[in-house]
């Protein structure tokens, strides 16, 4: 019964999707630009032609993520923050069932290897989010790389856990810093998340105004949040 009903739902959805595909109007191939006057070309074309002059970042995606759609990014960081908070609240309420679950420490080779590789992974993550405005990558990708370093620690170095309080502090501070940068833009130029720093020269590390600054904070925040999520789910003690 339930299976038949589900298949019916799927069929309806499939028909809807298939009928939406007919004709060439889905996708960037649609000749949207010609339908409208100059002012109303689609977002992508405008960003591709103007973003580098307006923000100074070579990576158009980075400038879209941080400036044009910066509020989305703030919201998304908040979503991840909610997930980390909610997960900790769910897993730490009620009775704690933790007895004799202490696994034996990992072997010396694994332990030493993990401790050796961990800083290198952090360095790679930092590289990815610092160069986000020039090359592919950015705050989220770099943060995820940092978090994979934590994954390694939780898997390989049992008994030696990252300091959760310090992770939480990094998480809060970088979130606050993101909002404060936005509010400084509001105070300086009357617009939230305004790019108030100088654009600098193209392809230089210190360019594109606030984009690398915000990406660093996003990277720290995403890294510490995902690290916290991993720690909570792995059952490590706090």
């Amino acid at each position: 019964m339930r299976k038949a009903l589900s298949l019916a739902v799927l069929l309806v959805l499939a028909l809807g999707l298939a009928s939406a595909l007919r004709g060439p109007s889905v996708g960037a191939e649609a000749k949207r630009g010609e339908l409208f006057d100059e002012q109303k070309v689609n977002f992508g074309r405008r960003y591709n032609s103007r973003a580098r002059e307006e923000t100074g970042a070579s990576n158009v995606v980075a400038s879209v993520v941080v400036t044009y759609r910066g509020l989305d990014t703030l919201g998304e960081v908040a979503v991840l923050f909610i997930a980390a908070t909610g997960l900790a609240a769910l897993l730490h309420t009620g009775k704690q069932r933790r007895s004799g679950e202490e696994a034996e420490p990992s072997s010396l080779i694994v332990f030493t290897g993990c401790r050796f590789v961990f800083p290198l992974i952090l360095l790679l993550g930092a590289y990815v989010f610092v160069h986000g405005h020039l090359t592919p990558g950015g705050g989220f990708q770099g943060g995820a790389v940092v978090a994979s370093g934590f994954l390694l620690i939780y898997l390989g170095c049992r008994g030696r856990q990252p300091d959760r309080q310090r992770l939480n502090a990094v998480e809060s501070l970088s979130g606050v810093a993101f909002v404060v940068i936005g509010l400084v833009g509001l105070a300086v130029g009357g617009s939230f998340l305004l790019n108030f720093l100088p654009e600098g020269s193209k392809y230089a590390l210190l360019s594109a105004g606030i984009i690398p600054v915000i990406y660093v904070f996003i990277g720290l925040k995403v890294g510490s949040e995902l690290g916290g999520i991993l720690g909570d789910l792995s059952g490590a003690r706090r």
Binding site: R32, L71, G189
Partner: protein
Amino acid sequence: MVSPILLIAVPLALAFIIPLLGLISQKLTRYVPAAAMAFNFVVALLLLPQVLQEPWVVQTAGFPPPFSIHLVAGPLGVGLSLLIALVGLVVAIYAIGYVREGDVARYHTLYLLLLTGATGMVLTGDLFNLFVFFEILCISSYPLVGYRGDRAGIESSAKYLIQGAIGSSLVLLGIGFVYGLFGTLSMADIASSIDSVSPMKVFISMAFLITGFGVEAAVLPLNAWLPDAHSSAPSSISAILSGIAIKAGVYAVARVVFTIYGADTIPLLVLVVGILTLLVGEISAFSQNNIKRLLAYSSIGQIGLIVFALGIASASGVQGALFLVVSHALAKGLLFLSVGYMIYRTGSMEISSLYGIARRMPVSSLCFTIGAFSLVGLPPFIGFPAKFTVIRAALERADPVFTALVGIVLLGTVVEGAYFFRIVQGLHFRPPPESAAPAGAGQGEAPISALVPICLLAALIVAVGVYPSVLTDYLGPAARDLLDKAAYIHHVLGV
């Protein structure tokens, strides 16, 4: 100079600070949501007279509207954020004393973010930004439903999460179609070029968006999660979910339908869905023995009425719907809050175990009665002018179909009246059950930190009920904000 962006940015920053504050003192964290909502209340109040003159389009990142995310702080957006701040403030004060066990700092973080998400939803003018704030609202409500960590809470929260996740995927698919069709995400920009695309494709994207947002709005086939989630959450969260979260879902659907696709696309189907939701909700509520489940089903019924009023799609119909939104947010908040301590004192959610509690908790019972009467639509309370406006709007259409539907609405009201009178009579006049075992949680009235918000809500319900013109003067511009597509486009794009 206050800017509407502060309504979103300041609560977000405060929510990020809470964990830091928790390192210093756990007790301080309890006051942060109340402080943030008080701030929002003041800001929204300051903005309201200004946006009644002309909507304030706020740009971000210093680029003109269609090309970066923009907020549209019109009468409706600021008015709804005022409502959110008011109910949020009241419930936050209630929660200071009510939420004791568990991870209190995290509770307050999530609670504040939930309200921030709702505020962002009603203010934003960008489709994808609407989705992001919608996700903030949904994702923070999942762990809050299961906050107590008991069986029922976690189970309903998991089921809520599964349905919510499918809903948001559908919204995202719809956004993909919209972007493919129009190459833009600004709602005003989409609305201005809606005629250049074939209606079939427009319909498909609309169907995805409405179905996705409809999960949170709890219209008929999509509301399986609601009774479970609302009844197993802590009472303060039930009040917010019923009072604010569903309304945000309805707002998203209404904004997408009215602003993007235009009011004339409303088919009879919407009216029928609204009426069916109303009937199913009220009839299921009638057969409930669990007080919180009953209130949850009653919320479904009220949502049905709101959808019906929106489906009338005339100015007076939308005014009635907005009036209902306000009245239901206040009344249902009041009901859940006053029931919260009754359940805490008796240790049971069965209606029969609450019999005769008026002797022990007179103020709470009186306030419950006020809320119940207001929901049914009795005269001196806010529910009466709200329902009256809706019914008058439906009869204005002078259409036999609408007259018949009004008959069904009145039938629903009768059912609603029947079960609420049953409870009120039980609370005041039935003898308490023999097995009224005092759970050791203290007897007598709720503490003062709970009575203040409850009485505040009750006073508001009576005050607006006696002087409805406080609200009705403002509802006209708000309804125009939702209905008048051309003006909306004009304000955002300046053409």
